[in-house]
C-alpha cells in the first residue's frame, strides 16, 4: 500500500469518527462506509445488511442503488455470504461464484447476473452479538484480496462501534433501538425514492443520488430530507434539480 493510499485511509477513519459526534444519522453513516469501501478497497461494490432481530436480514446501505445491486442484498434474506456470516459470526468468502450454485442457490445466480464473480462478507460484531455484515463484491473471479478484506473488517468494526456509539454497549435496548431506527430509515428512503422517481421521471438510482446530493449541499440529514419527501412536505423540484436550494427570487428593478 503506497503512502497516499494510507493517507486517504487515515482520512476515512477520521471522517467516520467525526460523523459520530452529533446529528448522527445511521443510514448516512453506513452509506458513507460503503462508498468509501469502493473508493479505497479493491472492490467493485459494497453493501451493509443488518439483522432485523427476528431472524431476517435487511439491506441498510449499498454503494449504488441500481436495482440489480439492491436486489442482490435483498435475496440474502434467503441465502448468500451475508446470511452465513451473520449466522456464524465469521467471515465468509467465495473466490468464484460460478461454483456456488449449491451453496447459495439464489445469491449465486443473482450475483452473476449482476456481473459479480467474487464475494466476501465480514461480520459487524460486538462481543457475542452479530448485528449485520459488510459485503464486498468483485467482478473478477480471483476473490477479494486480503488487504481489502482486513481493511473492510476494520471499517466494519468502526461502523459497529459507531452504531452503538459511546453508550453502555451491553445495553440490548440501545441495540434494538439503533437497529430498528436504521431499518425504518431505510424504508423511509425507499418511499422517498419512489416519490422523487415519479415526480421527476427518473429511475431509483437517480432519485437516490438527487436526494443525497441535496442533503449534502444543504447540510441536512439524509433521513430527515427523505422523511420530508415521503411525507410530501419537501420542495421536490429543488431536490430533483440537482441538489441546490434555489436562491431567493430577486426583485426586479
Amino acid at each position: 500500500m503506497n503512502h497516499s493510499h494510507e493517507q486517504r485511509l487515515a482520512r476515512v477513519f477520521v471522517e467516520l469518527a467525526d460523523t459520530l459526534i452529533d446529528q448522527f444519522d445511521i443510514i448516512e453513516f453506513l452509506n458513507m462506509l460503503v462508498e468509501r469501501c469502493v473508493e479505497l478497497l479493491d472492490v467493485a461494490a459494497a453493501g451493509v445488511v443488518l439483522s432485523d432481530q427476528r431472524g431476517g436480514l435487511r439491506m441498510a446501505a449499498a454503494s449504488s442503488e441500481q436495482a440489480r445491486l439492491v436486489e442482490l442484498f435483498a435475496v440474502q434474506a434467503d441465502d448468500g455470504p451475508c446470511l452465513d456470516c451473520v449466522r456464524t459470526g465469521l467471515p465468509v468468502s467465495s473466490a468464484n461464484l460460478a461454483d456456488e450454485n449449491a451453496r447459495w442457490p439464489r445469491f449465486a445466480v443473482a450475483a452473476r447476473e449482476a456481473g459479480f464473480r467474487a464475494a466476501h462478507a465480514v461480520p459487524m460484531r460486538l462481543r457475542q452479538t452479530v448485528i449485520g455484515a459488510l459485503n464486498l463484491l468483485n467482478t473478477e473471479s480471483d476473490g477479494v484480496d486480503e488487504t481489502s478484506v482486513s481493511l473492510g473488517q476494520a471499517l466494519a468494526d468502526v461502523a459497529t462501534i459507531g452504531m452503538l456509539q459511546h453508550r453502555a454497549i451491553d445495553d440490548s435496548a440501545i441495540l434494538t433501538r439503533q437497529l430498528q431506527t436504521a431499518l425504518n430509515s431505510r424504508v423511509v428512503i425507499e418511499q422517498a425514492k419512489g416519490v422523487l422517481s415519479a415526480h421527476a421521471g427518473v429511475d431509483m438510482q437517480a432519485a437516490f443520488v438527487a436526494l443525497r446530493a441535496y442533503s449534502r449541499s444543504n447540510n441536512l440529514r439524509l433521513s430527515d430530507i427523505a422523511r420530508e419527501v415521503a411525507e410530501g412536505t419537501a420542495d421536490l423540484d429543488a431536490i430533483a434539480a440537482g441538489g441546490q436550494v434555489s436562491p431567493p427570487r430577486q426583485e426586479r428593478h
Binding site: 427476528r54 434494538t176 430498528q180 423511509v188 419512489g194 416519490v195 422523487l196 422517481s197 415519479a198 431509483m204
Partner: protein, 226 residues
C-alpha cells in the same frame, strides 16, 4: 384512519385483543395497550386508545393523550422502540407524563411503534409495576407483536379481515418505492398508497411484489378510482 380513530370499539380488529394479551404473557409485563394515532406531531393530530388489558393501561393512554407526550408518541416520532426499564430514572424526557405515570404505579414502560417508513399508525405500549429491562427475546416479541398490530390495523382500515397476517415481513424495497410513486402520482398519503397497491394485488390475485415491480417499471399506473 379518521373513521377508525373515532369509531366504536366494535369496529376494531379482534386481533388487537389477542396481541395485547400476548404482549402481557410473552413480555411478562403487567399490562398493555394499543393507541392509534393520526398525523402525530401535527396541529390536527388525533389519537385514541384502541385496546387495553387493564385500568392502568387505560390511565397511561389517557395521560399521553392529555399531556401530549410519552413513550408511545416518542416511539412513533423516532420510528423505533422506546424501552424504559426504570421510569423514575429515565423519565425526565417527559416532564408532564412521568409524574402521572409513576402515580399510577408504573415503574417501567416499553413502547413499540406500529410503523412502516413514514406510515405511522400508533403504538403498542406495555407497562410494568416493577423496574427491570426486557430480555432480548422479549424485545423481539414486542417487535413482532407491533408488526402484527400494524397489519391488523391497516387491514381494518382497508375493510378487510386480517386473514393473512405476516405479509409485512415479506415486503421488500420495491413495495416501498411503488408506494412512494403512487403517493406522488395520485397526491395521496403513503398509507393510502400502500393500501391502493394492496387492493390492486388482491383484486387481481397477484403477489404484492409483482404489482410493485410493475409500478416501478412503469408498466402499471394505478388510477385514482382503483
Amino acid at each position: 384512519m379518521r373513521a377508525l380513530v373515532t369509531a366504536n370499539d366494535d369496529g376494531l380488529p379482534p386481533a388487537l385483543t389477542r396481541i395485547c394479551g400476548l404482549a402481557v404473557s410473552e413480555l411478562v409485563v403487567t399490562g398493555a395497550g394499543v393507541t392509534l394515532m393520526h398525523r402525530p406531531g401535527t396541529p390536527d393530530a388525533q389519537q385514541r386508545l384502541a385496546r387495553a388489558t387493564d385500568a392502568v393501561a387505560v390511565g397511561l393512554e389517557d395521560l399521553q393523550l392529555t399531556v401530549g407526550e410519552g413513550p408511545g408518541l416518542s416511539a412513533v416520532t423516532a420510528g423505533a422502540p422506546v424501552l424504559v426499564p426504570d421510569l423514575a430514572v429515565a423519565g425526565a424526557r417527559w416532564p408532564a407524563f412521568t409524574p402521572g405515570a409513576l402515580a399510577l404505579g408504573v415503574a417501567a414502560v416499553f413502547a413499540f411503534p406500529l410503523q412502516l417508513g413514514v406510515i405511522g399508525l400508533g403504538s403498542l405500549d406495555c407497562h410494568r409495576a416493577a423496574t427491570g429491562s426486557l430480555s432480548p427475546p422479549q424485545a423481539v416479541d414486542g417487535l413482532v407483536l407491533a408488526e402484527l398490530a400494524f397489519e391488523s390495523v391497516l387491514d381494518e382500515i382497508a375493510g378487510r379481515p386480517p386473514e393473512d397476517l405476516g405479509w409485512i415481513s415479506d415486503i421488500h424495497a420495491e413495495v416501498h418505492q411503488a408506494s412512494g410513486m403512487v403517493s406522488n402520482q395520485l397526491g395521496i398519503s403513503m398509507r393510502e398508497a400502500l393500501l391502493r397497491i394492496r387492493a390492486h394485488a388482491y383484486a387481481h390475485d397477484l403477489p404484492l411484489a409483482t404489482v410493485a415491480r410493475q409500478i416501478v417499471d412503469r408498466q402499471l399506473l394505478l388510477g385514482a378510482q382503483e
